[in-house]
Symmetry: C2
Subunit: 335 residues, 2 copies
DNA sequence: CTCTGGTATGGAACCGGTTCCGATTGTAGC
DNA sequence: GCTACAATCGGAACCGGTTCCATACCAGAG
């Protein structure tokens, strides 16, 4: 069925080794021989079989990406960055979407084998010690994105700072009652960014000599619908906030919806901030904390490929810049 | 580095062939031999090298997914379905995101080689004849999702019907001036669904004895921002529509935003319909045409794996059911 | 007891590349 | 003209599986 290197060798009247040398642009091939081989390759429309190459080279030219919730725009955006950078580097990307604990276990059990992939990128999932031990044992290069572990190279943004930026902006506008809507820090799948952002908010508010009462902190799953419920409850209590910091743009969209349904004007009656600066944020005119999502994927790949090729890993924790993007969902509180 | 089948054979005191027979659960292995081999496998923690297996079997256990615009929630949702079904079937998924014409050409040039993948799923991209010819030559199983081609198996929904459903609903509510906002039918990347949906809208409106003037048809790229611009222009003209059918939920969100900015009340002053029923639609209370996105991925995989295993393909064009989901963005026009 | 037929199994050949080793050829130096 | 060495290249060995073939063994039939 396929044309093999032997066919090329036969047609060019050379040995298989020579064809391989031409293919891999090795030195010590006579120019005349080289061109005969190239002609034969062209004549037969030969393309080397990648599987055979992999077996021989003991390299798969493939990296795996593990991420939870392919549903989240921010995760997808990071994945886009990973994909773009991998294609540039000539690697294939195989994707594992883990939405359940069972799936997570299965993936971490089966995947990390040197024979399957050359490296691993893990997005928004912090590996357990046992998972890590398995990876370490086979000495598989790994880079984390938006996840934490003392000993693993990672690309992250400073979520605490992000929380501070959002709340600092609101405090500067004059807000004194600031609420927070964030994700459940799901134990088995372990997200921490929402929690860290809340920490940042807390710190900033404390630094301003204020506190954030428990009634103004709402935690729920990531959907805008759930966020709308939480915001509605928060806004209809006796002492509602004048501003809400949300742990994602998606949740901010939910909060906007709640305000809207309650007949409140944003930013007149309520200020709202998001996080990520996905397309939706621009569209909704959301003030948000921008983090370089696509770029985080690109950087993770660059570092991973570096590790695969033996470059020293450099600093383990690479922190990406974040910034506040002010749009029209925030304003000074009315009175 | 890794434990090989020879190590197992040596430890169990058998030949490599016998180990392979045990691994593949072939008949004709003495139960005593089998258990000796299984013990050795367990003792060495042996896992067969998939690359070697692939080379030997001439099967990659991998399928490729080509899709444009990993940015669109609807595409991502289909991809989720593909991923879930492939994992169930024991296949790896490699993803190619094509956002430019160059990339499309590169992917279609390099990818379809029997040695790389066992099958191909193409989402929202209708292959050209030349691309197809290459695929046909190597006899690679392909299934399209949300894309069209006379001779290829595909999983689609009836977009014309979808357009009709949305406009029929609006007509039934009493609307007479109905606008449409859709995608550019990008020549090189060839999306057709938006165009087909417009066709459906046209037919239904014509059937009601009305027409849809050119001033009420707006075409632009897929972003909500662009859609907001188009809707704003449409709504501020001399004879604005009382309802707008949008080719996607994303664009409908843009239209809602425009209405909002113009101080118009939805559904009081303007009805809006979307398409896809992504999470956003639920959140915005958007009346929309629901199509089974996740399920389309699942079905495509089921059919592709069937083809790979030699099941007859059955009907080429599998049409998935769609339905109108009525929420609060549509109502009778205010006189 | 021999013949037959089926089962179990070792091992060679194969999948399609890469790489290493050794042989051949060519050229420079003396 | 002979030696030394480098450049070139063919082909074997290897990567780690699967499968086919030949053989050994065993049981039952004649």
């Amino acid at each position: 069925m396929g044309v093999t290197i032997s066919d090329v060798a036969r047609l060019a009247g050379v040995g298989r080794g020579t064809v391989s040398r031409v293919l891999n642009e090795r030195a010590n091939v006579d120019p005349r021989t080289r061109s005969r081989v190239l002609e034969a390759i062209a004549a037969l429309d030969f393309v080397p079989n990648p599987t055979a190459r992999r077996l021989s080279l003991r390299r798969t030219q493939t990296i795996a990406v593990i991420l939870p919730f392919l549903t989240r725009p921010s995760a997808v955006e990071r994945l886009r960055g990973v994909e773009a950078a991998l294609v540039r580097g000539g690697y294939d990307m195989i994707v594992f979407n883990v939405e359940t604990v069972e799936r997570r276990e299965a993936v971490f059990r089966d995947l990390p084998r040197r024979e399957r992939v050359d490296g691993l990128i893990i997005i928004s999932l912090s590996p357990h010690e046992t998972e890590l031990e398995r990876i370490g044992r086979i000495d598989l290069p790994v880079v984390l994105i938006d996840a934490h572990h003392r000993t693993l190279p990672r690309v992250v943004a400073d979520d605490v700072l992000g929380g501070r930026l959002a709340s600092r902006h609101l405090l500067a506008l004059g807000h004194r009652r600031i609420g927070f809507i964030g994700d459940i820090p799901r134990i088995p799948l372990a997200f921490t960014s929402s929690r860290l952002r809340l920490t940042g908010v807390r710190r900033e508010i404390t630094a301003a000599g204020l506190t954030i009462p428990a009634s103004l902190v709402a935690i729920g799953d990531h959907s805008p619908r759930r966020s709308t419920e939480l915001a509605t409850r928060m806004l209809t209590q006796r002492l509602p906030p004048t501003a809400i910091v949300c742990a994602s743009d998606t949740q901010a969209a939910g909060a906007l919806e709640a305000a809207n349904a309650l007949g409140m004007n944003v930013p007149g009656d309520l200020s709202v901030t998001g996080y990520d600066d996905i397309e939706l944020a621009d569209h909704l005119g959301l003030t948000t904390v921008r983090q370089p999502l696509f770029e985080s994927g690109v950087r993770a790949v660059e570092r991973l490929l570096g590790m695969i090729h033996g470059t020293p890993p450099g600093v383990l924790r690479e922190v990406q810049p974040i910034s506040l993007v002010v749009r029209r969902s925030t304003a000074p509180p009315s009175v």
